[in-house]
């Protein structure tokens, strides 16, 4: 339906070349925004637009926290309040400490004035913080509080985070209401200075405020888009999609969650400054739970995670509130009088705005979760040719993959696990396990389900932090390090049950794999200097090189969402994502699970080729043909203990291994069988 309408509307524009459309649309939008107050000179309407723009900025800020990083914040208005009150207090008569020489430097900087006290004797300080200075200052101060609120909640699951932020959102207005000395309590701050530009005060005229608000929206749209399409934005989305995988792929979750909180809070603080300067007053009621919900409704309505969507959502809902609902009420009343319906003649829709918000929230969640403008673009289907997979046997020998396996090698051992024990309550998952992986080798770990193989991987990659013993990587102790540091040292892994970032593209998954190898920070992401562009381009080239390992299976699909791909391809993407991080050792947890025999063989040979290029591999695998093809050494785990180790052939003959896999009687039966060990169906067991 809606697509049909869009298509009809778009028809007159079809002859505009694709490359022109975006700049053209943007120019028209900017022109409309700039010309609006000149064409439409109703001050009240300009004021409504300025308010709508302020809410658009709030929505953009909340969108970074909720949409990008996936952290549901129900107390966002708290940062709005912090920015508002900070500027309000520092630019009004609220605080009047006695004048002393301490204030002299601030007077020279223009932050305070000396003023005669009301009582007649002595002088007091009058705070006169400039609006333009307050914007960045209060943004920074709000960001500080964003970190303070965020820090204790980081370890919480998403839904708890919602309730804690809701609590903070309640506490801030309560503190404001009760701390009257600082904030003038429920009566509110009065006499906040209007902004001045080159000595000209904005006063109560709406037009200058409108332009400031529009400029803020434009700036923050720009910042949001730049951040979204950078290493920073990808790290946030990785956390949103799968927190554990994000950590394992090198994203410092604490840092990036706090960063999202801080940047979101900064946007809120800035808007607070603007809002208070415009109203020249602030009361605790302006920042309560309904405000936080309204901002949430805006981003849900516009499209969670969609920059243009949340701006549109904010404008529509604000204008609905200030323009359309009154108009609609008027029309209904006229209609009511015309049809002699007393109810219609006196209906007033304006108070029901929150009811409408409630219905929008529920309606959008039930019927259009992606919002008005979805954050993800529709996928182009692959051509038949592209879908045709060429099966690549014999691994690959045409790829260089410079930098895989690491250049620096110290000692003969890549990984040295000594006396490692892990206990969960009464259960011993690993008991005094010793295991070494020589440089450039392929070591396989086999064992029945529940024998502790995946626990071992989790311990090595830092997902568990409960183990005793020692794990050395190239001589360096890594036990107890957080996952992202372990990845940075050169240990990358895949997961038994696949932990990809399903709503991101194949390319984005591989770029997140390189997170720890890239250096773009917030400022570079926003300003995008040549060095950042070069780094980004190189990262894409490297990702394509890695995809080429799998022939044409991934290369045509780099722009596709991972969620829509086949199981085997998702397994390959996970390996590619791990390889993208340029590991020195690759940990594969059942890489061929769910693949058919041909695909299994293909992948085993590709892993072999990677090993030939210098990559060390530690592998959990049930299929013994894979183990025999690849591994130099096999460790057998049972009930958390190493019960055997040796070459694949040696392990196959080990009695302990047979007992662990098949039980005592089966071992006897196998012993009696004339074909001997070769007939023991070890490879197919366990899955």
């Amino acid at each position: 339906m809606t697509n049909g309408v869009t298509a009809t509307l778009a028809r007159p524009f079809e002859h505009i070349p694709d490359a022109w459309r975006q700049p053209l649309g943007l120019t028209l939008l900017i022109a409309a925004a700039v010309l609006f107050p000149l064409v439409h000179t109703n001050d009240a309407d300009i004021d409504s637009m300025a308010n709508a723009a302020a809410y658009a900025v709030l929505a953009l800020g909340l969108n970074i926290v909720v949409g990008f990083a996936g952290l549901l914040d129900l107390g966002y208005a708290a940062f709005f309040a912090i920015g508002a009150y900070t500027y309000g207090i520092l630019s009004s008569f609220q605080l009047q400490p006695e004048w002393s020489s301490f204030w002299e430097p601030f007077r020279i900087l223009g932050l305070v004035h000396k003023m005669a006290a009301d009582t007649g004797d002595g002088s007091v300080v009058r705070f006169t913080l400039s609006f333009w200075l307050a914007l960045p200052l209060c943004a920074g101060f709000a960001a500080f509080w964003g970190v303070m609120f965020g820090a204790p909640t980081l370890r919480l699951r998403g839904d708890y985070l919602a309730i804690v932020t809701l609590g903070f959102g309640e506490i801030v207005p309560i503190v404001v209401r009760n701390w009257s000395d600082l904030t003038n309590g429920a009566a509110g701050l009065n006499g906040v200075s209007a902004p001045k530009l080159f000595g000209w005060s904005f006063g109560v005229n709406s037009t200058p405020y409108y332009y400031v608000a529009i400029a803020l929206v434009a700036l923050l749209i720009f910042i949001s888009i730049r951040l979204r399409d950078s290493r920073i934005g990808r790290a946030w989305m990785a956390i949103r999609e799968d927190e554990i995988a994000a950590g394992a792929m090198g994203v410092n979750r604490t840092k990036f969650k706090l960063l999202a909180f801080a940047i979101g809070a900064a946007f809120g603080g800035m808007t607070g400054v603007f809002y208070v300067a415009k109203l020249q007053t602030a009361t605790p009621e302006m920042f309560g739970f309904p405000v936080s919900v309204m901002i949430l409704v805006m981003i849900v309505f516009g499209g969670i995670g969609s920059v243009w969507g949340v701006v549109l959502g904010a404008f529509i809902l604000q204008l609905l509130q200030s323009w359309w609902l009154e108009d609609l009420t008027g029309w209904l009343n006229v209609l009511g009088r015309a049809v002699h319906s007393d109810w219609l003649a006196h209906i007033d829709l304006v108070p029901s705005i929150e009811l409408i918000f409630g219905f929008i929230l529920v309606g959008m969640m039930l019927f259009r979760r992606q919002g008005l403008i979805p954050a993800t673009r529709p996928q182009t289907a692959l051509s038949f040719d592209q879908q045709h997979a060429e099966i690549r046997r014999g691994g690959f020998n045409d790829l260089k993959l410079q930098g895989l396996g690491g250049d620096v090698r110290t000692g003969a051992l890549a990984l040295e696990i000594k006396g490692v024990t892990v206990k969960f309550g009464g259960l011993t998952a690993l008991n005094n396990v010793d295991l070494v992986v020589p440089n450039g080798g392929v070591v396989a770990v086999i064992g029945p389900n529940g024998s502790g193989k995946s626990t071992l991987f989790n311990l090595v990659t830092g997902l568990l932090d409960v183990g005793d013993g020692s794990i050395r990587f190239h001589g360096e102790e890594i036990l107890g390090l957080p996952p992202h540091e372990i990845l940075t040292k050169g240990i990358a892994r895949t997961f038994q049950n696949l932990r990809l970032f399903p709503n991101l593209t194949v390319m984005e998954n591989a770029l997140i794999g390189q997170h720890a190898r890239l250096t773009t920070g917030v400022l570079q992401a926003i300003l995008r200097p040549p060095s950042t562009r070069a780094e980004e381009a190189a990262a894409r080239v490297w990702a394509m090189e890695v995809f080429a390992i799998f022939g044409n299976r991934l290369t045509p699909r780099v722009g596709q969402m991972v969620a829509g791909l086949s199981y085997a391809n998702r397994r390959r993407i996970e390996i590619a994502r791990a390889l993208a991080s340029r590991p020195r050792i690759l940990l594969l947890d059942e890489p061929t699970a769910g693949m058919n025999p041909a695909e299994t063989l293909e992948l085993a040979e590709q892993i072999k080729s990677l090993n030939m290029l210098g990559l060390t591999v530690l592998l959990i695998e049930h299929k013994l043909d894979v183990v025999t093809t690849l591994a130099d050494t096999v460790y057998v785990l049972d009930h958390g203990e190493v019960i055997a180790q040796g070459t694949p052939a040696e392990v196959r003959r080990d009695e302990e291994v047979l007992r662990a896999y098949l039980g005592r009687n089966a071992q006897a039966a196998a012993g009696m069988a004339p074909a001997g060990m070769a007939s023991v169906p070890l490879p197919t067991l366990g899955q």
């Binding site: 919480l156 903070f168 409630g358 529920v362 969640m365």
Partner: protein, 309 residues
């Protein structure tokens, strides 16, 4: 009043508040235990419950606190009011689940939680638009009988509130422990998939959790009116957050934990109001919520179900 009298008096007040929060906390815990969903609509099911009960009491011809009943008529009116309120509130809970949450059962992420915020907002604003913003004088047929214990006053209605709350909570506990569907609820909380494969009708279990939780919230709403002699459209938010804190404190998903948590929160509110300042009560309670979540996320008594990852 001596310090001891003050403590005694605030203990009595705290237990009454605690009984109410416990009833409300049980609804959070039941739904969270099974769906891992923070049900924000529960806040205002409680509020709507207190309005429904007010309507029922008015149907009996009661307005304000002038008409006092005793003996059988009092018991009869209260029984009918509790029953009607609980069944209607339960029905609202079931309707919320059926209409707005079941379609989102398998949707990942915060969609279901955002929906419950929307539903909560809808309930809130319907009552605001229909019944108006002013606080309502609550019909209360209970006689004023005061017992003096040391320097503290114990009101008969407070004792009645305790009895009702204890009976309801005891009933719920037995129901969850002993009944067939109660066992199914506990099984679903442990592992919904396994429960389904063992023949548990998960939809029915979820519906039951919403019915029971909402019915108890309705009873809590009635108790709120009888205790404070007023109700208003705004009571859901604060009471709901405190009750949620109680559920977390007791270990969310844990039925006896919610009861104990409710009493603790009630006591904190009463003592904090007495010895610190009423204006800071919510700050104290939220600080406790944050501290518990950060340092002991499983609550004082642990979860009923292990966290699914």
């Amino acid at each position: 009043m001596t310090l001891f009298d003050l403590l005694l008096q605030q203990t009595i007040n705290g237990l009454s508040l605690g009984a109410m929060y416990a009833l409300l906390a049980l609804g959070f815990t039941l739904v969270y235990g099974i769906l891992e969903l923070i049900n924000f609509s529960h806040f205002n099911v409680f509020m709507v419950g207190s309005f429904i009960a007010m309507g029922v009491l008015q149907l009996f011809g009661l307005t304000g606190q002038d008409v006092i009943l005793t003996g059988l008529p009092l018991v009869g009116v209260l029984l009918v009011t509790f029953a009607v309120t609980m069944v209607s509130s339960g029905a609202i809970g079931v309707a919320i689940e059926r209409l707005s949450l079941r379609p989102l059962r398998n949707v990942k992420g915060p969609a279901a939680m955002i929906t419950t915020i929307g539903v909560s907002y809808i309930l809130f604003n319907i009552i605001l638009l229909v019944c108006g913003a002013e606080a309502k004088n609550y019909p209360n047929p209970m006689p004023t009988v005061r017992y003096h214990i040391a320097g503290a006053v114990l009101d008969l209605r407070v004792v009645l509130i305790w009895i009702v709350a204890l009976v309801l909570m005891g009933g719920l506990y037995l129901f969850v422990q002993k009944s067939r569907i109660g066992k199914a609820m506990r099984a679903t909380a442990q592992d919904a998939e396994a429960a389904r494969m063992m023949g548990v009708d998960v939809d029915r279990v979820v519906m039951m959790a919403f019915f029971l939780g909402s019915a108890l919230a309705g009873a809590g709403g009635l108790i709120f009116g009888l205790y404070y002699n007023f109700t208003s459209f705004i009571i859901g938010f604060t009471a709901g957050l405190r009750a949620f804190t109680a559920a977390v404190l007791g270990g969310i998903g844990n039925v006896p934990g919610a009861m104990v948590g409710g009493v603790i929160i009630g006591m904190i509110e009463a003592m904090g109001g007495q010895f610190i300042a009423t204006a800071w009560t919510d700050v104290i309670i939220f600080s406790i919520l944050v501290l518990v979540l950060v340092f002991k996320p499983a609550g004082l008594f642990g979860r009923m179900a292990p966290t699914k990852s």
